[in-house]
C-alpha cells in the first residue's frame, strides 16, 4: 500500500501550531517520522524525545501546569504504556492531545503488533479518553483541529488514531528480500 498523501505532516504541524501547541513529546516512530522532523526543525516548538510513552503524559500535564499546551506523538503499541498515567489526567482534568499512528490493523505483517493495536481504542476509552479516527490523509488535520479544540477547550483527553491505511504497512518480508 502506498502512502496516499505525503503532505499531511506539514499540514498537521500548522494545525498544531494554530491550536497553540508549543511542546511536543515523542517516541521515535516510522509513521510520525516526518512530523517529528518538522517539529525538531521548528523553533516555535519544544520537542522532547521520550524514552517511553508514559513519560509524555507527565510532560504534557507539567506543561499545562506551567501554562503551555502540549501534544504527544506515539504509535499504538505505546498506548499500553500510558494507561495508569491516564488516570491522573482524568482525575485532574488535564487537557491532553495524543496523536497515535496505528499498527496491528488491516494488512499488518507482525502478529506481535496486533493485540495492542486492536485493543487501542477500547483501552483509551476505558480510561476516559475521547477517540477520533482518521482513515485518510486529508482527514488528519481537520480531526486534529477538532480534537485540539475539545482537549484544550473542555479540559479533556483526546486521541486521534491515524489509520495504518494512511501511514502504510511495514513489511519486513519486503525489507528482507531486498
Amino acid at each position: 500500500m502506498k502512502r496516499s498523501d505525503n503532505s499531511w505532516p506539514a499540514t498537521l504541524l500548522r494545525t498544531l501550531k494554530a491550536a497553540g501547541v508549543r511542546q511536543v513529546g515523542y517516541v521515535p516512530d516510522a509513521g510520525h517520522q516526518r512530523l517529528i522532523e518538522l517539529c525538531l526543525a521548528d523553533k516555535a516548538i519544544k520537542s522532547v524525545l521520550l524514552s517511553a510513552e508514559e513519560e509524555g503524559i507527565g510532560l504534557a500535564a507539567g506543561a499545562w501546569l506551567g501554562g503551555v499546551r502540549g501534544a504527544l506523538l506515539m504509535q499504538s503499541s505505546g498506548v499500553g504504556n500510558c494507561l495508569n498515567q491516564l488516570g491522573s489526567v482524568r482525575e485532574c482534568r488535564f487537557p491532553l492531545l495524543m496523536l497515535i499512528t496505528m499498527r496491528g490493523q488491516a494488512g499488518e505483517f507482525n502478529p506481535w503488533q496486533v493485540p495492542m493495536g486492536q485493543a487501542t481504542p477500547t483501552v483509551l476509552e476505558a480510561m476516559g479518553v475521547v477517540v477520533h479516527e482518521a482513515n485518510a490523509a486529508e482527514a488528519i488535520a481537520p480531526k486534529v483541529d477538532a480534537a485540539a479544540r475539545l482537549a484544550f477547550g473542555s479540559y479533556h483527553a483526546v486521541a486521534v488514531l491515524i489509520s495504518q491505511a494512511v501511514i502504510g504497512i511495514k513489511s519486513f518480508q519486503d525489507q528482507a528480500s531486498r
Partner: protein
C-alpha cells in the same frame, strides 16, 4: 553506612524561604513531607502517577524557564521512572532539580526494601544521564548547599538524600486532583489561568 538524616527535617530545610520555587512531589511520603513543611498552592503533590513525578517537573520547567522547579520524590517512585532521567539529561533544563528522599523502602506498602537498599546508586545513574550536579547527600552540613544549588539556574540537578527509614504521622494535602491543578495554575499564572 547507616542513614542519620530525618526526612521531614531535610524537606523543611530545602523548602525554607522557598520564594517562587515550584514544587512537584511524588506520591506517598514525599507528598506528606512537603505538606508538613507548609501547604502551598505552588505545591503539586501527586496522589498517583507513580514513576512520573520527574516528568511533571520537566514539562513544568520547560514551560516556565524563568522559574525554579523542584521535584521531591521517593526512591521507589524514581526507580519506576528511571528513563525520565535520560529524557531530562537530553533536555538539560537549567531550572530543574530532582531530589530523591531515599529511605531504601517502599514506605506506603509495608516498608519493603527497594533497589537502593541493595546498593543501586541513583546519583550515579543521574550523573551518567548528563545531570550537571548529581550527588548523594548524607549529612546535615550539606543541606544548606543543596538548598542554595536548587535556587541557582545551573541544573539539571539531582540529589539522592539518604534518610532514616521511619513511619511518620501523615500530613495530607488536598486530594482533589482538579483542585490541585487549578490552584497551582492560578497561583502561577494569575486569574487569567481560569479562563484559558
Amino acid at each position: 553506612m547507616t542513614a542519620v538524616l530525618r526526612r521531614r527535617k531535610v524537606v523543611e530545610i530545602l523548602l525554607k524561604n522557598r520564594r517562587n520555587l515550584l514544587v512537584v512531589a511524588g506520591l506517598g511520603s514525599t507528598a506528606w513531607d512537603i505538606t508538613a513543611a507548609g501547604d502551598s498552592p505552588l505545591n503539586f503533590p501527586l496522589w498517583g502517577a507513580m514513576g512520573n513525578a520527574a516528568m511533571f517537573g520537566l514539562g513544568l520547567a520547560l514551560a516556565q524557564p524563568r522559574r525554579r522547579v523542584l521535584v521531591i520524590t521517593g526512591d521507589g517512585e524514581m526507580l519506576m521512572g528511571l528513563g525520565s532521567l535520560a529524557t531530562i539529561g537530553v533536555q538539560q533544563p537549567r531550572n530543574l532539580a530532582v531530589v530523591v528522599i531515599d529511605n531504601e523502602r517502599y514506605g506506603e506498602t509495608g516498608m519493603q526494601a527497594s533497589h537502593t537498599a541493595a546498593g543501586v546508586d541513583l546519583a550515579k545513574v543521574a550523573q551518567a544521564c548528563g545531570f550537571k550536579f548529581a550527588r548523594q547527600v548524607r549529612h546535615r552540613a550539606h543541606l544548606a548547599a543543596l538548598r542554595a544549588a536548587i535556587h541557582r539556574p545551573a541544573g539539571p540537578l539531582f540529589a539522592q538524600v539518604k534518610v532514616v527509614a521511619e513511619k511518620l504521622p501523615l500530613v495530607l494535602p488536598p486530594r482533589d486532583g482538579a483542585l490541585l491543578k487549578s490552584r497551582f495554575r492560578k497561583a502561577l499564572l494569575g486569574d487569567q489561568a481560569d479562563l484559558d
